[in-house]
């Protein structure tokens, strides 16, 4: 089981002929993921690594290969277009890795996707992985994962790997791990992913990794309190980080105090989450909760 993807998922990689795209398409395949197609406009007809057909458009790729997940490595100026192209081609799940997409592009894409059946993970995210199904759709190092029953959801990329690494070191396997991305506007929120973990019979516990800024953790806390029935360990990073120099005044007054780490930790604690004291304690906290300690 796990969420969103499994061993039947058929992946197409947008930007497969680029440097990052080709590297990670290879890594996904090496892990066991079914990469069935690539898309690079103007390079249709090629074969990637002598096996994966490359198409000029997502629509062709879907038609010819039945791809049902799109993994995007397209550079920032073209990434919004890539997302919309996949959504319009009817791809039900998109993971967009690209970092640095202009916010106003994502404002529009976000609005557009509201009316579409497509689910977007990211952008500016590591993607998602289902270790039990050997299905890796993203840039995370596959070999640190272990099949198991803990779900991981995180706003951060590399910190997700840190969490997984600590879990695996303690022999705690993962059902699915999802990096939802660090941009101001992203396709799927904590709540969206928690809902899926709630429904997944093979997830017993969720490790939740938030950050300072925004109010998404508070929204997750509200959901956890009202509907989420599984144990959850939560880490919020950034308590000692410098005050966000990039956050303007006007932005600060929208979220105000709630953007700070303490506010988020408090909300999650009150919602019944077990708080992970420091980033070094992710694995051990999960272990304690699992063993009832």
């Amino acid at each position: 089981m796990g969420i969103l993807v499994d061993e039947h998922s058929r992946i197409l990689v947008q930007g497969i002929t680029g440097q990052e795209g080709s590297f990670h398409a290879r890594a996904c395949r090496a892990y066991g993921t079914q990469v069935v197609a690539g898309v690079t406009p103007g390079k249709g007809g090629q074969l990637f690594d002598e096996e994966v057909p490359v198409f000029d458009s997502v629509a062709e790729a879907v038609k010819e290969t039945g791809a049902d997940v799109s993994l995007i490595f397209v550079p920032p100026p073209f990434a919004a277009d890539a997302i919309v192209e996949s959504a319009d081609a009817g791809v039900p799940l998109i993971a967009c890795i690209t970092e640095g997409i202009p916010v106003q592009d994502m404002v529009k894409v976000g609005r557009y996707l509201q009316d579409m059946p497509t689910r977007l993970i990211g952008p500016n995210c590591p993607g998602l992985i289902n270790p039990g199904a050997r299905c890796k759709i993203g840039i995370m190092p596959g070999d640190i994962h272990l099949p198991g029953r803990v779900g991981v959801v995180s706003r951060s990329g590399t910190l997700t790997y840190e969490a997984v690494g600590q879990l695996t070191d303690l022999d705690i396997g993962q059902s699915s791990c999802v990096g939802i991305g660090g941009d101001p506007i992203i396709g799927s929120s904590f709540v969206d992913v928690l809902r899926l973990f709630q429904e997944d019979p093979e997830t017993d516990l969720v490790v939740f990794i938030g950050e300072i800024g925004g109010t998404m953790e508070q929204e997750a806390a509200a959901y956890i309190e009202e509907e989420f029935t599984k144990p959850l360990c939560a880490l919020i990073v950034g308590a000692t980080a410098p005050p966000g120099k990039r956050m303007g005044h006007a932005g600060a007054i929208i979220t105000g105090e709630s953007a700070r780490a303490e506010s988020k930790i408090q909300a999650l604690r009150e919602a019944g989450a077990t708080i992970i004291p420091t980033p070094a304690d992710i694995g051990s906290t999960a272990q304690k909760v699992l063993t009832g300690g």
Partner: protein
């Protein structure tokens, strides 16, 4: 990227928003001449990238040419320290000399992106002229927001509603709405992350005038705004931070002595959290980013090594889009280039981790490898 007040105002004016008459100067003589042109009295405003300028003495009312020259002499060339500038302050290299405004009322107007709403919001308050954070603390119900649906744009009923909440009489509602509409156009046309007009004033002769203006353009969008790229003023930025920004590296200068190289903002914050908890004071926040190549990593490490307060370096890389071997090559390159011999604690995990460690081990650098976050923090705490 922040713009100067005079740059922001020039853009506002181009779109049709009324601004005071003003002249940019960079010498006391020019300041005197400008004051004369404006009728012998003016306001001198230090052009710096830091809020709180007024309280810090960066704004001077002058009533004669001689006074203008004297005040300009004092302001120009100094480093202005405001509550936002950091202790080193920001250099005052130019002044905006503006005509005196006949202020009848001061309002606040701003546009920014609201993550929760997923789009731009217009923010207004009848309490303009003071820092909006103070208003938010003392009188939050006087701050009003209007979310803007991208497909619709700002709707007339929203501008009417906000104008009413700003306490504007019907005859001022229309010109104020016009300013709001233009601000939204400026915001979207220029991929802004923030526009703030504080204060937006009502003059004695019932005009709506942008007396001050703050504007920030989203860095990620600069690739499509060649004109705005020209407006960058490096002199206003921390030197190392500016260098980092040039390389597209997220870097913030801090007070400690542990130089930190991390990939990923979350892991970087986590690293600072753990290092601080172990008693090591970070010299910086640095996220080298996912798409880094060896050269970019080398630049990042170079920035760390060029910081005189750094005595040791902590590397925490979890290989994903950035592979460990690439990171290792970049680190070695930077040490070779700088000739630095500072001790190095390296924690590396993930993609190509073995190659990465091998490169570092073979490099001749004083490397300590750590396997966990706690180990790394302790090792750096001891590496002196």
């Amino acid at each position: 990227m922040k713009l100067h007040e005079y740059q922001a105002k020039e853009i506002l004016s181009r779109y049709g928003i009324v601004i005071p008459r003003g002249i940019l100067v960079s010498t006391p003589q020019e300041a005197g001449k400008a004051t004369e042109e404006l009728g012998g009295a003016a306001v001198l405003k230090a052009q710096v990238h830091a809020g709180g300028r007024g309280k810090a003495g960066g704004i001077k009312l002058v009533r004669s040419v001689a006074e203008a020259e004297r005040e300009a002499q004092t302001l120009l060339g100094q480093n202005l320290v405001t509550h936002q500038s950091g202790p080193q302050g920001v250099p005052v290299n130019s002044l905006l000399v503006e005509e005196l405004a006949d202020i009848q009322r001061e309002l606040y107007l701003a546009l920014t992106i609201d993550r929760g709403f997923g789009g731009p919001v217009l923010i207004g308050s009848p309490s303009g002229g003071i820092a909006i954070e103070e208003v938010a603390a003392s009188n939050p119900e006087s701050i009003h927001t209007e979310p803007i649906e991208p497909v619709l744009g700002l709707m007339p009923y929203q501008t009417r509603r906000l104008a009413a909440r700003l306490g504007l009489e019907p005859e001022l509602s229309r010109p104020a709405a016009q300013v709001m509409n233009l601000l939204y156009r400026i915001f979207t046309d220029n991929d802004c992350s923030l526009i703030e007009i504080n204060p937006l004033i009502i003059t004695g002769d019932r005009r709506v005038v942008a007396l001050d203006a703050k504007m920030e353009v989203e860095d990620e969008s600069l690739f499509r705004h060649a004109d705005l790229q020209q407006l960058r003023d490096r002199a206003q930025e921390d030197e190392l931070e500016a260098e980092a920004a040039d390389q597209d590296i997220a870097y913030v200068n801090l007070e400690g002595n542990v130089g930190c190289l991390v990939n990923g903002a979350g892991l970087a914050m986590a690293t600072l959290d753990v290092a601080s908890a172990a008693g090591a004071a970070p010299a910086n926040f640095l996220d080298v980013g996912g798409g880094a190549d060896a050269e970019k990593v080398a630049k990042a490490v170079g920035i760390i090594l060029s910081d005189p307060k750094v005595t040791r370096v902590l590397v925490n890389v979890f290989g994903g889009i950035l592979r460990c071997d690439v990171a290792a090559r970049g680190i070695v390159l930077a040490y070779q280039r700088s000739g630095a011999r500072l001790p190095l604690v390296v924690r590396m995990l993930g993609t190509n981790v073995e190659e990465g460690k091998e490169i570092l081990a073979d490099s001749g650098l004083a490397v300590t490898f750590a396997s966990t976050l706690t180990d790394a923090a302790q090792a750096i705490q001891q590496a002196n």
